[in-house]
Every structure is written in C-alpha cells, then in structure tokens.
C-alpha cells in the first residue's frame, strides 16, 4: 500500500514538473496567462512556507505574492537542469529571508518564549495547541542559521537534501545546524518529553 502511495506521489511530482516546464515555456513565449497555472500549483506551498517564516497569515500571503512576482520576472533564469520547484523554493526563501531582515517579526529571545504549561492544564485541546504553538514560535526565536534549516526541514517533510537544495548549502552543514537548533529547543523545553507523551495519549483517547 505504501509502495502504491509512494508511486502515486512520484507520478504526481513528475506530472507537476512537466506542467511547470510547459507553462514556463508558454510564459517565455509571451503568454502571460500561462503563469496562472504555476501560481495555482504552487500558491499553497509558498504561502505555507512563508507562514513558517513569519507566522502571520496576511504577511505570508504578501511574501508569497512577492515571491511569485520575482519568479515571473526571473523566469528566464531557471535552468532546466533542476526541478522548477527547487528553483522556486530557493527564490522564495531568498525573498522571505531578505524581507524578514528588513522588517523582522517580533524578536523574542528563546529564553523568553513561554515554556509549555505543566500537566495540570493539559486537559483541553486548546491548551495542547497552545503548547505546540509555543514550541513552533520558539523556532522563530532561534538565530537565523538554526531557524532556517529547521523551518525548511519540516516544510520539506523532513527531507534534509531538499532543505539543503532550497538553502543552496551542503547537506552536512544543514544537518549540523539542524542538530544544533534541536539541541537549543531541547534545552528550552525540558518538559517536552512528558508533554508529547500526554498529547499522544490524548489523541488516542480522542480516536477511541
């Protein structure tokens, strides 16, 4: 079943790559409307990636829009030896990074990020979500060199090589920074072990 699902996913990726190449060729030939296909296919991923950088929905859409515009302007710069999505993600990452440098999100030192609450308040789904959100926000409080590998690693469904390609960094560097970033989070949230166990128990209870 897993093999079938994997095969279907691979096939979808190949189809998307073909569609991207065809749309790019049409845009470069002067058909501006062909760009709509590219936006339609990649709007979700680009907005979600931007969200992970800033955790602000409105700003995420603005950033994604800017990334699409830059992609449109620089479409001729896509060399077809790599996937279009890799090129697009790398370009979007640059846009997000430089925009967030100019207008940073609220900078809270990692020491000041609220630690997940103790077991006493763990009975509501809201409290759980709040705890998870604390951990996610703590990622934004990390230094850029650790934050970006973490953001992109999880965005790419824990694929180190995809994250490395997006950042245009060697895989080894990305792995090292991921390790360091996780260590910083571990140090900040020592109770996460218990919390995660309880979350999983609660999920099981919900499913039952």
């Amino acid at each position: 079943m897993d093999a079938l699902a994997q095969s279907a996913a691979d096939s979808a990726k190949v189809d998307a790559a073909d569609l991207d190449a065809a749309d790019v060729a049409r845009v470069l030939a002067g058909d501006v409307r062909a760009f709509e296909g590219i936006v339609r296919r990649w709007q979700g991923p680009l907005i979600n990636m931007a969200w992970r950088y800033c955790r602000d929905r409105g700003r995420a859409e603005e950033l994604a829009q800017e990334a699409f515009l830059r992609a449109w302007r620089g479409l001729a710069g896509w060399r077809r030896d790599g996937r279009f999505s890799t090129w697009l993600f790398a370009l979007a990452t640059n846009v997000y990074r430089s925009d967030l440098k100019r207008f940073p999100t609220v900078h809270v030192p990692i020491e000041d990020v609220d630690e997940p609450a103790g077991p006493a308040s763990q009975h509501s789904a809201l409290a759980e979500r709040s705890r998870e959100e604390s951990v996610r926000r703590a990622v934004l409080a990390l230094a850029e060199r650790y934050r970006e590998p973490l953001v992109l690693f999880y965005f790419h469904e824990m694929d180190v090589s995809a994250a490395a390609r997006t950042m245009r960094l060697p895989e080894g560097t990305v792995k090292a920074r991921l390790g360091r970033g996780r260590a910083l989070l571990r140090r900040r949230f020592p109770h996460l072990e218990e919390t995660a166990t309880e979350i999983s128990n609660l999920n099981k209870r919900k499913e039952a």
């Binding site: 936006v39 979700g44 969200w51 859409e61 951990v135």
Partner: protein, 120 residues
C-alpha cells in the same frame, strides 16, 4: 525527544490560500507585463561624456599632485603664515573659467541626451 519535536514541528496546520490570492498575483503580473520595458541606460552616448569627465578629473588630480610636490619643500613652519606661492589672479580666473566651461559642457551634454531619449 527528537521524535516528539518532529511530531510537533511537522504537524503544522495547513493554510489554504485566500480566494483572492491567485487573482491578486495575476493582476500584478499582467500589470507588469503591460508596463513599458525600462529605458536602457544610453551607454553609447554616455561613454564619451564619461571619458571626458574622467580625463578632466584625472588631469585635475595630476595637476594637484604635481603642484603639491612642487610646493612641498617651500612650505615650512616659519613660512606657514605667509604662503610661499600664491597663484596669480589670472591663474585663478583661468581655473574658474575652465570649471565653468566643464560644467556648461556637462549640462549641455545631459540636456542633449535627455532630449533625444524623449525625457524632456
């Protein structure tokens, strides 16, 4: 521990793009496509002016250095209050005239370039 962290960070809620997002991006793309292409910098016309300007500045710098070297031994602590060499008024007028002529020439050149490109 990494597994727990993975669970939390990998299970981000998925955002769905707002209904107007696609339209808004395409609107801007179409706007940009319809805009006239940016005016390229007129290198062919600018290069002669740049060469002349570089020549004038280079010559000025050379003269300045030559003047400084030539006069350096004449300047001493005893002579400081009264400079040893004061350029004559004719020299000063000449330099001022040269400066005015260069300014006028660069202004005329700029006007001509801008006039040809249709900016004024």
């Amino acid at each position: 521990m990494n597994e727990k962290l993975d669970n939390i960070l990998a299970s981000e809620p998925e955002l769905v793009p707002s209904s107007g997002f696609l339209g808004s991006v395409m609107e801007r793309v179409v706007e940009e496509a319809a805009a006239p292409p940016p005016i390229p910098f007129p290198w062919k016309r600018a290069i002669p002016g740049m060469i002349v300007a570089a020549g004038v500045f280079g010559w000025g710098g050379f003269e300045f250095v030559r003047y400084a070297i030539h006069d350096a031994p004449l300047v001493s602590l005893h002579k400081m209050p009264v400079p040893a060499h004061i350029p004559s008024q004719v020299d000063q007028v000449l330099w001022a005239a040269v400066a005015c002529a260069v300014s006028l020439a660069s202004w005329l050149l700029a006007r001509r370039l801008a006039g040809r490109s249709g900016l004024i």
